[in-house]
C-alpha cells in the first residue's frame, strides 16, 4: 500500500513539530518522519526556552498559533523576565524547562493533533519530477523551479507520496561529533547521523555548506557543592509565554540555578588540551557561532580575561544532571574533567556526558525565498538549523512559517511573509535570505531595527490577527484580543485628552517626590514623568466612579500597553517615521529577471550576490551585505533608464 500525505515533514525537532502542527491545524494531512520517535521536541543543548530576543520569538510563535510557548509554560521549572531594569522593548521572557517533560509534552500535543502521523525512519531521497512551466531567463544563472517535489524515499526503500516536503533536519545531516581527537558520526550522543539526503539534494543542484556548534558537559548533580556558588532565582511571580491563560500555572515545582566562575588554573589546564583540540588542529572545518563560543575559544581570544561565568542549570526536576552553561567544549574528555574540577563548587564533580562539537550540513539560504521554499524545487521547504540558524526558538519560528506557507501554496493562496517592521520572525527570515549565513545565526534585539514597536508585550496585538486568519488561533482568543485592543485605544484617548485637577493629584506627587502642579495638568504629561506609575495614578480616588479607568485597572496587559504608548510616545513616533521610510524602499520592486550583468559599475561581489539572492525590492537589496549604496544607486538609476 502506497502512503500519501499532503505534506511530509522530515525531522521532529522544534522546527518540525511547529511545521507539522500548523499544517495539520490548517487542514492538511502530515507525515512527520523522525529517526527516533522518542526524541520529539528534544532539547539537545541547553534546557531553556526564550532569553533576550528569543523570548520575543516565542511570544510571536504563540500569537500566530504555534506551540512552543504552551509547552514551555507547562514544563518550566524557573521563569524569569530578563532586562527588567531596561525599557520595555528589551524585556525578554526566559524559562528553564524540564527537558524530559518538554519532549513528552511536545510529543503529546503532536500525537493528539488530528491529521499528523508520526513515522519512524530516515529519509534518504526526495521523489521529484520536472517542473511544468519553467521560467528561464536569458541570464543562465537564473531559473526558478526546475523540479517539483512529489514524495520521499526512506532508508528502507519505503516511498511516501506528498505534495510538499519540509526539511527540518537540525544538525543531523552528515553530522560528525568531535571530542578531542576522536570523532564519530552522529547528530547527538548515541544518535546516528542522517546520510544520503544531502547527497541526493546536491545531485539535484543544491549547494551545501558546513557549520559547527557545540555543547558543554552535563554534570552529576550530587557531586556538586552548590553552597559555594551564587544562587540564581527565578521571578517570584512567573509569567506565561503563552497568551492562552492556563489554570494551574506554573505547573512544575520552581527551582534555582547557580552561578560560578572559571579561574586562571582552569584556563591553564584547558590550554594543555589545545594540541588535541579539533578546533585548533583544523579537523573541524565548519564555522561556529561567535556569540556562543567554546570555552577554549574564549580563553584564546580573550586571554586577558581572568575568569568566565559558568551557570549551573538543572536539566530535569527529578534527574541527576546539571547543564554546565558557558563551558561548551570539544577538548579531550580528561581535560574537560580536570579543568571542571578547578571551578568553585565543582571540585569533586563527575561529568556524565562530555561536551562535544558537532559539524553538520546546512543549505546556504540564497537557495530559498522569503516563504522558505527552495528556488530550485517547487514544494520543498527548509527550516531551522539546516538554514544556518541556531537555537530552538529560531528553528520553531521557521518551522511554523514553512508549515503555514506550504499549506497556503497547496491551497493556491498568497504566501504569508512577515515584514521586518512587523515581527522578529520577519527580521529573522529576511536576515537569513538577504544577508546569508556564514556562522550559525542567532536572534538579537539589535537585529530588529524597529525594536521599540516589536515588543514581547504586544506580540498578540501585532500578530494574532494573522494567526486567526490562518485558522491557527481560536475565535475566543481573538475576541479577548479585540476587547483588550478597544480598552487600550479608549484608555490612550482618554488620558491624552483629559486633565486632572491639582487637588486630586498633588498628594500622590508629593509622596513619590515628583514636583507638584499648580493648576490642572494633562494626564499624559504626568504619565510621561519617569517616577509616575500609571497604575498608581489611576488608583486615585477621583477615578473611583470612572468605568473606563476601573476596567483598565482590571486589565494589567491593557494598562501596560497604555502606559508604554503614552510614556514613550516621542520615541515610538520616531520609530514609526523610520518604518515609513523603510516601507517606501520595500515597495520599490525589482523585476525578478533584472539583468544585473548590464550594470558594469556593480562590484563583482554585489553583482554575484544580487544575482544569487534576487531581492524582490530595493529595500531588500539594500540589506544584502557587500551591496554598497553606490550599487543600489546604480540599480535604481538603471531601473529608471
Amino acid at each position: 500500500m502506497k502512503k500519501y500525505f499532503d505534506i511530509v515533514v522530515i525531522g521532529a525537532g522544534h522546527a518540525g513539530v511547529e511545521a507539522s502542527y500548523a499544517a495539520a491545524r490548517m487542514g492538511c494531512t502530515v507525515g512527520l518522519v523522525t529517526m527516533d520517535v522518542n526524541a520529539i521536541g528534544r532539547m539537545s543543548c541547553n534546557p531553556a526556552i526564550g532569553g533576550t530576543a528569543k523570548g520575543h520569538l516565542v511570544r510571536e510563535i504563540d500569537a500566530l498559533g504555534g506551540i512552543m510557548g504552551v509547552i514551555a509554560d507547562r514544563t518550566g521549572i524557573q521563569f524569569k523576565m530578563l532586562n527588567t531594569s531596561k525599557g520595555p522593548a528589551v524585556w525578554s521572557p526566559r524559562c528553564q524547562s524540564d527537558k524530559e517533560l518538554y519532549s513528552q509534552e511536545a510529543a503529546r500535543i503532536i500525537k493528539e493533533q488530528e491529521g499528523i502521523e508520526i513515522i519512524q525512519g530516515t529519509v534518504k531521497e526526495l521523489q521529484i519530477s520536472n517542473y511544468k512551466s519553467q521560467i528561464f531567463s536569458e541570464d543562465s544563472n537564473f531559473s526558478k523551479f526546475k523540479y517539483t517535489v512529489s514524495g520521499i524515499i526512506t532508508e528502507n526503500g519505503e516511498k511516501i507520496d506528498c505534495k510538499s516536503v519540509i526539511i527540518t533536519s537540525g544538525t543531523f545531516l552528515n553530522a560528525i561529533m568531535h571530542t578531542g581527537k576522536t570523532n564519530v558520526a552522529g547528530g547527538r550522543i548515541d544518535e546516528k547521523a542522517a546520510t544520503g539526503l544531502s547527497e541526493n539534494m546536491r545531485s539535484l543542484g543544491f549547494e551545501t555548506g558546513r557549520l559547527k556548534t557545540g555543547t558543554p558537559p552535563r554534570l552529576e548533580k550530587s557531586t556538586i557543592d552548590f553552597s559555594v556558588t551564587e544562587i540564581q532565582t527565578g521571578d517570584t511571580i512567573p509569567q506565561q509565554f503563552s497568551q492562552k491563560k492556563m489554570e494551574g500555572f506554573p505547573f512544575q515545582e520552581q527551582v534555582d540555578c547557580y552561578l560560578t566562575h572559571t579561574n586562571t588554573q582552569t584556563h591553564e589546564i584547558l590550554r594543555t588540551g589545545f594540541e588535541d583540540s579539533p578546533m585548533f588542529t583544523g579537523r573541524i572545518k565548519g564555522v561556529g557561532p561567535r556569540y556562543c563560543p567554546s570555552i577554549e575559544d574564549k580563553i584564546s581570544r580573550f586571554s586577558d580575561k581572568p575568569r568566565h561565568q559558568i551557570f549551573l542549570e538543572p536539566e530535569t526536576l527529578t534527574g541527576n544532571t546539571i547543564y554546565m552553561n558557558g563551558f561548551s567544549t570539544s577538548l579531550p574528555i580528561d581535560v574537560q574533567q580536570e579543568a571542571a574540577r578547578t571551578i568553585p563548587g565543582l571540585e569533586k564533580v563527575n561529568i556524565v556526558k562530555q561536551g562535544y562539537a558537532v559539524e553538520y550540513d546546512f543549505f546556504p539560504t540564497h537557495q530559498i525565498d522569503l516563504t522558505l521554499e527552495t528556488k530550485l524545487v517547487s514544494g520543498l521547504y527548509t527550516a531551522g538549523q539546516i538554514n544556518g540558524t541556531s537555537g530552538y526558538e529560531e528553528a520553531a519560528a521557521q518551522g511554523l512559517m514553512a508549515g503555514i506557507n506550504s499549506v497556503l501554496k497547496l491551497k493556491g493562496k498568497e504566501p504569508f511573509i512577515l515584514k521586518r517592521s512587523e515581527a522578529y520572525i520577519g527580521v529573522l527570515i529576511d536576515d537569513l535570505i538577504t544577508k546569508g549565513v556564514d556562522e550559525p545565526y542567532r536572534m538579537f534585539t539589535s537585529c530588529a531595527e524597529y525594536r521599540l514597536i516589536l515588543r514581547q508585550d504586544n506580540a498578540d496585538l501585532r500578530l494574532m490577527k494573522y494567526g486567526y486568519e490562518l485558522g491557527l488561533i481560536d475565535e475566543n482568543m481573538i475576541l479577548d484580543l479585540k476587547e483588550k485592543a478597544d480598552l487600550i485605544w479608549n484608555g490612550v484617548e482618554f488620558l491624552n485628552s483629559n486633565t486632572i485637577n491639582q487637588k486630586y493629584v498633588n498628594k500622590y506627587l508629593r509622596k513619590i517626590n515628583s514636583s507638584e502642579i499648580s493648576q490642572g495638568e494633562f494626564l499624559k504629561n504626568l504619565i510621561r514623568r519617569s517616577e509616575v506609575k500609571l497604575k498608581e495614578l489611576l488608583e486615585l480616588d477621583c477615578y473611583k466612579d470612572n468605568d473606563l479607568i476601573q476596567n483598565i485597572l482590571k486589565n494589567d496587559e491593557a494598562m501596560n500597553q497604555i502606559e508604554i504608548e503614552i510614556k514613550y510616545k516621542g520615541y515610538i513616533d520616531r520609530q514609526d517615521e523610520q518604518i515609513s521610510h523603510f516601507v517606501k524602499n520595500e515597495e520599490i520592486k525589482i523585476p525578478v529577471d533584472f539583468k544585473y550583468d548590464k550594470i558594469r559599475s556593480l562590484s563583482t561581489e554585489a553583482r554575484e550576490k544580487l544575482k544569487k539572492i534576487r531581492p524582490n525590492s530595493i529595500g531588500q537589496a539594500m540589506r544584502i551585505s557587500g551591496v554598497r549604496p553606490s550599487d543600489i544607486s546604480a540599480v535604481m538609476v538603471y531601473m529608471r533608464g
Binding site: 556562543c292 537585529c447 525594536r451 553606490s630
Partner: protein, 458 residues
Amino acid sequence: MKLSDTIGAISTPIGEGGISVIRLSGENSFELIQKIFFKEKDQSRRIVISEEASHTVHFGYIFEGSQLIDEVLITIFKNPHSYTGEDVIEISSHGGTYITQKILSVLLNNKVRHAEPGEFTKRAFINGKMDLSQAEAVADLIRSKTDSAHSSSIKQLEGSLSEFVYKTRQDIINIVSLVELELDFAEEGLEFVKKEEILDMINSLNERLRNIIASYITGKVIREGVNLVIAGKPNSGKSSLFNYLLKTNRAIVSSIAGTTRDYIEESIIINGVLFNLIDTAGLRQSLDEIESEGIKRSHKKIKEADLIIYLVDSSDSQEEIKKETEHFREDYNKENTILVFSKTDLSKVNLTEDGIRISLLEDKTIEELKKEMISKVTSGKLSLSSEDIILTNLRHRICLENVVTSLDEAANTIKDSMSGEFISVDLRNALNHLGEITGEVTNDDILNNIFRNFCIGK
C-alpha cells in the same frame, strides 16, 4: 536598452572659440566615427580604430557624404579607460557655432543620440568610474567659477568627504555597539561603559560635525562667491566705488540722491576669491514709492550679505560723519563689515575714527580696501585656509545637520536616564542620515563590532 546606445554632445561652451570638442560615448562610437572620418582629403583612407592604441590622437577630415565639413583631430579612449568607462571619441574641431553644430548633426544622422544634461557623468557613475559624491563634485566642478572652487571640487573628487563620513560612521558604530552590548548581552557578566562616557563621546563627535557644517559657509563662498553689499546713506559714493571696482559703467552714477533705485549685481575676482558686488539703493526714508521698494530690497540684501562695505562720506560735516559712524557701530556686526570713509580727497575735517579711507582718485587707497576685503574673507568664519574638508554641497550639509540633530537627541535621551534601546533609536537615526551621503549601515556592522571587541558567550 537606453544605456548602451551611443550618445554625443558638444562638450565645450557654445559660442566663438579657437576649437570646440564634441564627445561621443557608447558601444558604437568607434564604428560610427569610422564612417565619417577619413585620413585623406580625397576620402581615400579610413581609420581602423581597433588597430589604434587607446589615448592616441589622429588627424583627419569629417565628411557628410562626399562633402568635407572640417579638418579635425580625434582622440581615442578605449573602454574602460575613458571618462564614462565606455568607448569614447573626442573630436576637436574648429570653433564656432556653425561647424560644431554641423558635425554634431552629421553624428545625429548616424544614429548617435544627443546626450541629456549630465548623461556622460551618469554613465561614468553607472560604469563604476566614480561614486555618488564624486559625481556631485563633478557637477560642482563644471559650475565652479574660481581657482579655489576648482581645487575644492578636486579634493572632494579624491574622496576626502567620503573619508570623513567613513570615520564618523565608525565612531557612531562604536557608540551604538556599547549601547547594544548592554541590551543584548546583559547576562554575560560584562562591564558596561558608563552613560557619562557615552555622552562625552557623543558630544565630542558632535563638535567635530558642527565644525564641518560651519565650513559650508566657506564652501559656499568658494563655489558661489562672497556676496558683498556696498551700503551707506544716499550719495555716499556707493555706485562710484561699485563702478570703480568693476571698472565698468554698469551702474548709473549721478550726484542726485536716490539715483540707484534697486540693487545691481556684478562679479569680480580678487586674489582668486569671487565677489558678487551688490550696489544698493541708499538707505534713507523716501517718499518715492519706487525708491522705497528699492530701499526695502536693499535691507534684505544687506541681511543676506556675507560681507558689507559701509560707506561714510568724509566730505560731510564733522557732525554728520560722527552720526553716520555711530549709526554704523549700532547697526552692524563688526565681523563681516568694513567701515570705509569715502571721498577723502574732498574731506575738510580731521578724521579720527578707525576705518579704511579711500579716494577714487588714488588707486593705492582702493588696493588697501581690497586687502581688507580679502583678509575679512580669509579670517574667522569665512576662513579659506582650513585644511579640513570644506562642505560645498547643500545636500551634504543637510545630511550632516540631521546627524547632529539625531546625536543631540541621543544626548538628551541619555540625560533623561532612558534605557539603551531609546538611545539606540537616535544613534541609528544618526547613522542613517550619515549613510545618505555615501554609505549605509547594517545591523551586521554593529554586531560584528561587538563580537570583535567583547568576550561574549555563556
